[in-house]
């Protein structure tokens, strides 16, 4: 085994880190407190090339590999970019644009990818429904073929970027009796008659990322907007889930590093009983625990990216293991960080409580921790690891 990144990858990560610290981080607190999406930062992410990093140059990207994308996402978290912006980026690039790129027709790719890669258009992905989350086969949204069109009816819930998206990648049933094999994916443009968005949901964390319901009422879309072929939607959604459980997790890894650095600096500044709190073993133990956790999580998360770069199919076990590990068990060290900061940890000033609030989504979004355990145990039943 070998755990190195290439020089180019590390150099790029460093560039993203510097860019984010200078251009984005100064705007984070204002937007986070107001729960406002930061369009200016979004534009800058697009100009820097992050939003379309892994797409080929002809589509406005840089042709980067998956690991490089993950490093860039990690750098955003490490710089102190909030989880809301990184979530919007992840949903836009990996869950929406990548699916169109991987499975869409040439026409769809030409029409959507360059504008999504540049950030001119914002994308979202509609899979979850009020009554169907990880149990995708239970979805009720239907797409009925009528001549050269499909007619969509139903709704999608908890959709990241829903309110601000120009393009929605929507999963719906084209065959209600075929279970997973009856699910298909469609591109729906903002403003299409019959397509509306609900009220923005007020969330505990990732507050700069707008989340809402998508509603489809006799929404007519041309058959050309079918992504891939009828019935291919479930497989596509599973492939996006790998992104959900890898690149979308790396900002959290970066946030751990951000928190460690902040904790160290604060512990050296803050004095109690006549000496810096960094002198106390209880404080040191908290800092060390954060580091140990982060180092244990890193290879698990990057293994998914490496597998994807190797062109290996669906790495469900590895993805679920990484997600469960990082999402579930990051909460304790992050909670420790809040406590280390004492009263300040509970205030907005140092951004520590923001990281804890943002990270609280990790065991919920992209399949809860219980879902990850279901996947892992199911795969384990095939035999001992």
């Amino acid at each position: 085994m070998e755990f190195s990144f290439t020089e180019e990858q590390l150099l790029f990560k460093d560039q993203v880190l510097k860019f984010a610290r200078k251009e984005i981080v100064p705007r984070v607190q204002e937007h986070e407190l107001a729960a406002k999406f930061d369009f200016e930062s979004w534009k800058k992410l697009g100009e820097f090339g992050i939003l379309g990093l892994h797409f080929p140059e002809e589509f406005g990207g840089s042709g980067a590999d998956v690991v490089t994308c993950m490093l860039a996402a990690e750098a955003l978290g490490e710089a102190g970019v909030d989880g809301g912006l990184t979530l919007s980026y992840g949903a836009h690039t990996f869950l929406c644009a990548d699916t169109i790129f991987q499975h869409g027709s040439d026409e769809l790719k030409k029409k959507y990818i360059p504008k999504l890669a540049s950030g001119e258009w914002i994308g979202c992905m509609g899979l979850t429904e009020p009554g169907a989350g990880s149990d995708v086969a239970s979805m009720r949204t239907k797409a009925e073929k009528q001549g050269d069109n499909y007619v969509l009816n139903g709704s999608k819930m908890f959709i990241t970027n829903g309110q601000i998206a120009d393009v929605a990648l929507v999963y719906a049933k084209t065959d209600t009796k075929a279970g997973h094999a009856g699910i298909s994916a469609f591109v729906v443009d903002k403003g299409t008659p019959g397509f509306s968005v609900g009220k923005k949901l007020n969330k505990m964390g990732v507050r700069t990322s707008p989340t809402c319901e998508l509603v489809f009422e006799d929404c007519v879309i041309p058959k050309e907007n079918l992504v891939g072929f009828e019935g291919a939607g479930f497989l596509m959604s599973m492939q996006t889930v790998e992104w959900d459980r890898s690149a979308l997790l790396t900002p959290l890894l970066g946030s751990m590093q951000f928190v460690i650095e902040r904790c160290c600096r604060y512990a050296k500044e803050r004095e109690q009983f006549g000496r810096p709190i960094a002198d106390f073993e209880a404080i040191k133990e908290k800092i060390a625990k954060m580091k140990i956790f982060m180092e244990a999580a890193k290879p698990l998360v990057y293994r998914i990216g490496w597998c994807k770069d190797q062109g290996r199919g669906l790495n469900h076990l590895e993805a679920a293991v990484a997600k469960l590990f990082l999402a579930d068990w990051s909460l304790e060290p992050l909670n420790d960080a809040v406590i280390l900061f004492g009263g300040y940890g509970y205030c907005h000033e140092y951004d520590i409580e923001r990281v804890l609030r943002d990270s609280r989504l990790a065991p919920i979004g992209g399949g809860t921790s219980d879902i990850q355990k279901m996947i892992i145990s199911k795969l384990m039943e095939g035999g001992a690891k």
């Binding site: 085994m1 755990f3 512990a267 960094a278 060390a288 990057y302």
Partner: protein, 373 residues
């Protein structure tokens, strides 16, 4: 980046797995309740078989004998069979590696030749009653020779070792001394009875004006030998802990499939399946962190020491956690003192205590970070 084992590593692993048939496993189980003489005999017997594999000499010296990353990739194949036996082997290996990289004389060549044939058992004496900090055992120069005085605590393998490497100091200088445990001036205490790791012998050592020839002593002041020793010990313990975790998960999984409750296998219960899923997740996290720590050391990563400390702490704690979870899952069957899971549970605690001072390592990690940021 590459998360796959190399072809050579896969081949060595497969070869090692074939070496542990029913007879060998019985011999290893018997080691847990064998007197010292029997332990030495069994250890050498199994060691000779392992010495025929490429694994045995990987990473012994810098020049010729390959990668420790490869070695550790294969390590758990041994560690999962018996943590005691694995630690006994690795103490001998660490002894030989320190010897090969620090000493130069014809005597050393003979010792290393014996090692390569699997005919040698070695030990390294570092810890003292004062713990893991710099040794108090002192060395005095006496014209061309030296005199060693002091004591070392809980020295693994020492009761069955042919040779022991002892860390000592003379004022500010630090030395590594090659000691024949049968020499006059060396006293080995009776074997220390431990809760777990019963197949590994621990004794204390007392040196009373032990005379050592000049070529049996090396000045290691200013070198990274002590750091090398500590890092390697961290890695060995990580691999041992990972082996215990693999074994614990296997036991728990086998039990959950076979044990029937209300006419259904235990595995049918979601709570049990979720527990196993958590165990696998923690195991995989431990495996990769341990392997990354070895790679960091070999590749000269600036964080190698910190990562090795992280790996030792994390894997040791998770070995305790997983063996405990497995015992809970197996209920009374796991709680019987001759069960494999009870052995794993006790071994995990032993690994957590052996060598790595978790508290001190935790503080060192924090100090490094506080200095850096």
């Amino acid at each position: 980046m590459n998360f796959d084992l190399k072809t050579q590593e896969k081949e060595i692993k497969a070869t090692i797995e074939t070496l542990f048939g029913e007879a060998e496993l019985e011999a290893l189980a018997a080691m847990e309740s064998t007197a010292i003489a029997g332990l030495r005999k069994t250890t050498l017997q199994l060691q000779r078989a392992l010495a025929k594999t490429a694994w045995w000499t990987l990473g012994i010296s810098d020049e010729t004998e390959g990668s420790i990353t490869s070695m550790f990739a294969v390590d758990t194949a041994v560690a999962k069979v018996s943590a005691s036996f694995y630690l006994a082997l690795q103490n001998t290996r660490l002894f030989s590696s320190l010897l090969a990289n620090n000493f130069k004389s014809s005597t050393i060549e003979t010792i290393l030749k014996n090692y390569r044939a699997g005919e040698l058992i070695g030990a390294v004496a570092f810890s003292e009653d004062s713990g893991q900090s710099l040794p108090e055992t002192s060395l005095e120069q006496d014209s061309d020779s030296f005199r060693l005085s002091g004591q070392k605590s809980y020295v693994a393998n020492s009761a069955i070792a042919d040779f022991i490497l002892v860390f000592a100091k003379d004022g500010e200088k630090q030395f590594l001394c090659l000691v024949d445990p049968k020499a006059t001036g060396v006293m080995r205490t009776a074997r220390i009875d431990t809760l777990g790791l019963k197949g590994l012998t621990y004794t204390n050592l007392v040196f009373d004006q032990l005379e050592l020839a000049g070529d049996m002593v090396v000045d290691i002041s200013g070198s990274k030998t002590e750091q090398y020793y500590k890092m390697h010990l961290n890695l060995i313990l990580s691999a041992a802990a990972t082996g215990v975790m693999q074994n614990s998960l296997k036991q728990a999984q086998t039990h959950a499939r076979a044990y029937l409750k209300n006419g259904k296998p235990l595995m049918a219960k979601q709570g049990i399946r979720f527990e196993l899923a958590e165990m696998l997740t923690l195991l995989q996290g431990s495996e990769l962190l341990a392997q990354r720590a070895v790679w960091s050391l070999e590749s000269g990563d600036f964080e190698a020491l910190t990562i090795s400390q992280c790996a030792a702490i994390f894997t040791c704690k998770q070995a305790e956690n997983l063996s405990s979870k497995a015992m809970q899952l197996m209920t009374t069957e796991g709680y019987t003192s001759d069960s494999l899971i009870a052995r794993a549970f006790n071994d995990a605690k032993g690994i957590s205590i052996a060598g790595a001072d978790i508290h001190e390592s935790t503080m060192e990690i924090a100090n490094t970070l506080l200095e850096r940021y």
